[in-house]
């Protein structure tokens, strides 16, 4: 079972010059066996998922499951209210007027899908996390501008202050910092 909030108290941060360098560095990190590292960039870099060895996001399946529930729920709601709980004769139409119920089924399916997608993304990403050791770095702010970083969390099995810093340097990292948040 996952903990409610992941504890991150120590992170090594290294800066890279370009998307290209970052991609290469990520590949090297993966080859070295690092798992708890991340590549920070102002935009999503194509190929980075493969480079870091990340699996496809499961979000699609989750959304599908919830959307199906939304669909059935909408259908059930309309069936129960119109044909079971208080059937009223409206324009001489059948109590369960299938075609007329499609728009609401459709809308509610979309609605559940959309909410699931967003809430799912936030939950999977463990957001919001307003305090992160990374944010104590002065340089890190540039990740959303035009700079590229790799961070390694101390929870990684291979993590070691000196080793990891050294390795990052070898793969082209600059301005290496160790960020703590005790």
């Amino acid at each position: 079972m996952m903990k409610l909030v992941k504890k991150i108290d120590r992170v090594i941060l290294a800066e890279f010059g370009s998307p290209k360098e970052l991609l290469k560095a990520a590949e090297k990190m993966r080859q070295e066996g690092y798992k708890e590292f991340d590549c920070h960039s102002p935009f999503h870099i194509h190929g980075m998922d493969a480079a870091m060895g990340l699996k496809r996001s499961p979000l699609g399946y989750i959304v599908f499951a919830f959307a199906t529930m939304g669909l059935l729920g909408a259908l059930g709601l309309q069936y129960w209210t119109s044909a079971v709980d208080y059937p009223l004769v409206i324009s001489g139409k059948p109590f369960f007027s299938g075609p007329a119920f499609v728009p609401v089924v459709f809308a509610l399916t979309i609605l559940t899908a959309a909410i699931t997608a967003v809430v799912g993304m936030i939950v999977i990403n463990r957001l919001p996390r307003l305090r992160h050791p990374l944010f104590s770095s002065d340089r890190f702010g540039k990740f959303s501008d035009g700079s590229f970083f790799i961070s390694v969390e101390s929870s990684d099995k291979k993590y070691n202050d000196a080793h990891t810093a050294g390795f990052l340097k070898t793969i082209g990292g600059q301005n290496i910092e160790i960020l703590k948040d005790e």
């Binding site: 009223l88 004769v89 409206i90 324009s91 001489g92 139409k93 059948p94 007027s97 007329a100």
Partner: protein
């Protein structure tokens, strides 16, 4: 709306306090005992209680106090419950309504002592259960807060006792000099009690003068019969026996006397159940376009002044056919040619004894005399028309008014009593009544409003409404009826009989005693008490009609009269002709204070809240005017401005104007509505006049018309055929739409169980009289919305009468079609309502649930008949407590923002079902009549259970004339129409 916003003059409290004036009467004491019943508690809160808001406040405060949770409502029970009153169960009393020189027998529905609805009395020959718009509107007049509430002398409020004391001293004075200088100007009446008291008055004051005048009367008819028979008679028509009818400027179906019976008889003779039936034929010759004209098979528009010439032509044509019309030999036949006179004569001659010629009351006596002669020659007298001598009545007398005014001007009148009349408003303008009145020392005005006259007189005494008075009446055929109060006078007024009693006898007697005395005199022998009880129960005395006679025309009399009064005298004069017509809604103006009638669409023009100058298209073109342009009408040096309304089918060179508008003493409802055409009337020409000059002004006056579009656009809406076509194609109504029966894509709901309500509307019977509209308004608490709202298309009528013209613009035919909620089985309104506020019930009603409605108005958009009405504002907001009393407690009063529509009178259905259920039986045909059906004099509307093959409605739905309006939409309306059939003379070619 602005009219309705006027400050309420009285509050509920004042209204009770004003009863102080009656404090010394025993009635008042009983009234005090009869404190306001259960119904009153319903006024404390509107029907929409904001429970939720109250509750929110309570829960936020988290206060556990139970009493905070909701507004308290009080129950105020009787101290002693009157034996017959059961709270919530209406009572019905018979009474009669005096009108003109006749009356209508009515039954009044009363809720806890509050009359809310008027119906015709089935036992009374004047209505036979039906009624008219004017009759239906009387409850609103009763509860009009503008009615006169005080005895006034000068500008000061006086008490009734002051007046009584004052009159008693005058009485003594005049009694001494035999009434010299005393004059009474009375409205018309037909009342045994009033007549008895008038005799006492005449006996006490032999030198006093008593003149009767009303702006609209049958005076010319009485003079005409006198000229023909040597004796004044009232004609009683049997339209049901007439196969060929000719109407000469007579709107006998609506605005003439006895129109309810005329319409009933006319429709009966027109009714066709199958194509094999025979029906009557109506020829109409008239100047304006009347409701009767709309029902004619042949109509010819000629000026009212040409009617005499037309009648002469007809007499001549009949003479040529060997039917000698007495008295015409000496007459010159005018050289003016009219359409189809010869064919008309042939048709009349072919129906000897079963034809009928009638002339309108505005036609001069000579025309009426000649008409009597024609009827005599055709053998109609004694068959389709009989005559009676009226008694117990006081009929209008213009000559008397003229001499009275001369006396007033001459200073020989010292006290003038105006008894139920308003001469300042409606006396012919040439008499200048106001100036003459100023010369009389003491003037006493007795009427239900402090009207134009009441505002100028020395004394004004408020008159009770007939629903709060004891009295009696004689109807058109002479049936004697009682008028019983349904409620004690609301505003401290006194009844006609009480006032007359005081004037005649010099002492006050209670109305009840006066009336009872009269009836006791007239019912000698036997047990009066038990007879009296039956009379009060039935509202009438059986077999009390006038004796019907069949006199013969007296050749010498009529010849002399016609020689002295030539019928061609209005021909060839210069200028246009002006025709004075009584308003179908406001009559002579006495109902101008009634909002329902003001807002009632005119049967032909569909105008509300205004009178206009109706003119033909050609005349309007010549003058360069269009609808709503104001024109100046000038006649004999007097002038009046009125907006123009182009009336298709109006005679050329003539202008029709309606009486009853332009009131100045009709308060918040009637003041300033339209123009007073009495200003153009002179005592010598009250029906029509020539020499009218019409000039265009550059102003316009906005008019509120409920139906702007004239044409059916070629759509099969009102389906109509001639009798000949009907015989050839009995199913013409169904076949008017070329359609295979439509099939739904889904299985429709089936309605085969239990009661299934439905209705038929017989377009062949419907004459377009509007009675159903006011009946519905009264039954269903439909608000008045005011002129601006009507102009904006927001009138609230649940049933409307559509009017379409067909054919030529200059000479169109007119059809009427009542349109109400059709209660479609596949109702398009229901599916679009987001909150299910309008759904179907198991009995096939399209129900509208006000308390569920959020007011999207989508249902109205999707209604192909546009019969749904929306409360754009809170129209009942400004109702005073008095006005609220007109409302039917069985029907929810709608708040702003909800849709409403015809419910088939679901409250009546529920009442009948509950009644049947309690008694362990089923509802049978006839248990339920809708308000519109009940009011209809011609039985055009039939309501009932269509699941019962024996019900009248089921049978009517099997007629081959039956069709559903817009059936091509597959909405399956429960209301269906029976197509109209006309019976034109095949020998007359259509123009």
């Amino acid at each position: 709306m602005s009219k309705k916003n006027g400050e309420m003059k009285i509050t509920g409290k004042d209204y009770w306090r004003s009863l102080d004036q009656l404090a010394d009467t025993p009635e008042f004491n009983t009234f005090l005992k009869r404190e306001f019943p259960l119904g009153a508690s319903e006024f404390d809160n509107g029907w929409s209680r904001r429970k939720f808001l109250t509750l929110m406040g309570a829960s936020l405060a988290m206060a556990g106090l139970a009493s905070c949770r909701r507004p308290e409502e009080k129950i105020v029970p009787y101290v002693e419950r009157p034996e017959e009153v059961v709270p919530g169960v209406p009572l019905y009393y018979a009474t009669s309504m005096p009108f003109s020189d006749h009356a209508f027998g009515l039954v009044i529905e009363s809720h806890e002592g509050r009359p809310t609805k008027i119906e015709g009395n089935k036992l009374h020959s004047s209505t036979l259960g039906a009624s008219s718009a004017i009759i239906q509107a009387q409850t609103l007049s009763l509860f009009d807060p503008d009615r006169s509430k005080k005895v006034i002398k000068g500008q000061q409020e006086k008490s009734w006792n002051d007046f009584v004391l004052n009159w008693i001293s005058a009485f003594e004075k005049y009694k001494e000099n035999k009434g010299a200088g005393l004059a009474v100007l009375s409205g018309m009446f037909s009342s045994p009690t009033l007549s008895r008291l008038k005799k006492t008055f005449d006996k006490n004051f032999p030198k006093a003068s008593w003149v009767t005048y009303e702006a609209v009367s049958d005076e010319n008819i009485y003079s005409g019969t006198k000229a023909a028979f040597g004796k004044s008679y009232r004609p009683n028509y049997s339209f049901d026996k007439a196969r060929v009818v000719l109407s000469l400027d007579s709107d006998f179906l609506l605005t003439e006397s006895d129109s309810i019976n005329n319409a009933r008889g006319f429709a009966a003779a027109r009714n066709v159940e199958t194509e094999k039936d025979e029906m009557n034929r109506l020829y109409m010759v008239e100047s304006g376009y009347s409701t009767t004209g709309a029902n004619a098979d042949h109509r010819q528009a000629i000026g009212s002044g040409d009617i005499g010439a037309f009648t002469l032509n007809l007499a001549n044509a009949l003479n040529n056919l060997g039917i000698n019309v007495t008295g015409t030999s000496a007459q010159l036949v005018s050289d003016k040619k009219f359409k189809w006179v010869d064919e008309l004569a042939r048709d009349l001659a072919g129906a000897k004894g079963a034809s009928l010629v009638v002339a309108g009351r505005r036609q001069p006596a000579a025309v009426h005399a000649l008409v009597a002669a024609i009827n005599d020659a055709l053998g109609n007298i004694g068959k389709t028309v009989k005559y009676s001598e009226v008694s117990d009545t006081s009929s209008s007398d213009r000559a008397g008014l003229q001499s009275l005014v001369a006396d007033m001007n001459g200073g020989s009148v010292s006290t003038l009593i105006m008894f139920g009349s308003n001469p300042v408003y409606d006396a012919p303008a040439d008499l200048d009544f106001t100036a003459a009145m100023a010369k009389v020392k003491t003037t006493i005005h007795f009427n239900d409003y402090a009207d134009e006259t009441g505002q100028l007189t020395t004394w004004h005494v408020p008159k009770s409404h007939f629903l709060e008075s004891w009295g009696d009446t004689r109807s058109y055929d002479g049936t004697t009826g009682v008028t019983q109060p349904l409620i004690l006078p609301l505003f401290g007024s006194v009844s006609e009989s009480e006032m007359m009693g005081l004037l005649a006898e010099g002492k006050f007697s209670k109305g009840y005693d006066l009336v009872r005395q009269t009836w006791k005199n007239n019912n000698k022998g036997g047990n009066f008490e038990s007879r009296w009880r039956k009379i009060l129960h039935d509202g009438l005395q059986e077999k009390s009609t006038y004796k019907l006679q069949s006199p013969s025309v007296r050749s010498s009399v009529i010849s002399k009269f016609l020689n002295n009064n030539p019928l061609t005298n209005s021909l060839g004069t210069s200028g246009m002709e002006i025709i004075f017509q009584s308003s179908p809604s406001l009559y002579d103006g006495r109902y101008a204070t009634n909002g329902w009638l003001q807002e009632l669409a005119h049967p032909i023009s569909k105008l509300t809240w205004d009178n206009v100058a109706y003119m033909s298209n050609a005349d309007a073109k010549t003058l360069g005017v269009k609808n709503s342009d104001v024109v100046m009408l000038e006649l004999n040096g007097r002038s009046l401005e009125l907006p123009v309304w182009i009336q298709p089918g109006q005679a050329e060179n003539s202008v029709v104007v309606e009486l009853g508008y332009g009131r100045k003493g009709a308060f918040k409802v009637g003041d300033g509505v339209g123009g007073n055409v009495n200003l153009l009337r002179s005592s010598s020409a009250v029906g029509f006049a020539t020499g009218l000059k019409v000039t265009k002004t550059n102003r316009t006056h906005a008019l509120a018309c409920t139906q702007d579009h004239w044409s059916m656009e070629g759509r099969a809406i009102v389906r109509e055929a001639t009798l000949e076509e009907y015989r050839k194609h009995p199913k013409f109504a169904e076949e008017a739409v070329q359609h295979k029966p439509l099939v739904s894509v889904f299985d429709e709901h089936s309605y085969t169980e239990g009661y299934q309500w439905g209705m038929t509307v017989d377009l062949n019977s419907c004459v377009g009289c509007n009675a159903c509209m006011i009946a519905c308004q009264s039954e269903n608490n439909i608000p008045i919305v005011g002129k601006e709202q009507v102009a904006n298309g927001r009138e609230m009528n649940w049933i409307r009468l559509d009017r379409y013209y067909t054919g030529d613009v200059e000479d169109p035919e007119t059809v009427h079609q009542p349109v109400l909620c059709q209660h479609c089985e596949n109702a398009p309104c229901e599916t679009v309502c987001p909150v299910a506020a309008t759904v179907h019930d198991a009995e096939g009603l399209n129900v509208m649930v006000y308390n569920r409605c959020i007011g999207t108005r989508y249902c109205s958009n999707n209604c192909p008949y546009k019969v749904r009405r929306f409360n754009f504002f809170n129209y009942t907001k400004d109702y005073s407590e008095v006005e609220k009393m007109t409302q039917n407690p069985d029907v929810t009063v709608r708040f702003r923002g909800v849709m409403e529509k015809c419910t088939y009178c679901t409250q009546r259905i529920s009442a009948a079902k509950i009644e049947a259920k309690i008694n362990g039986r089923k509802v049978v045909d006839g248990d339920i009549t809708t308000a519109c059906q009940q009011a209809c004099p011609v039985d055009a509307l039939t309501f009932g259970n269509i699941n019962d093959a024996e019900s009248r409605v089921s049978k009517k739905k099997k007629f081959n004339r039956n069709y559903a309006l817009l059936s091509e939409l597959n909405v399956k309306p429960r209301t269906t129409y029976l197509a109209k059939v006309r019976n034109p003379n095949s020998r007359i070619k259509k123009a």
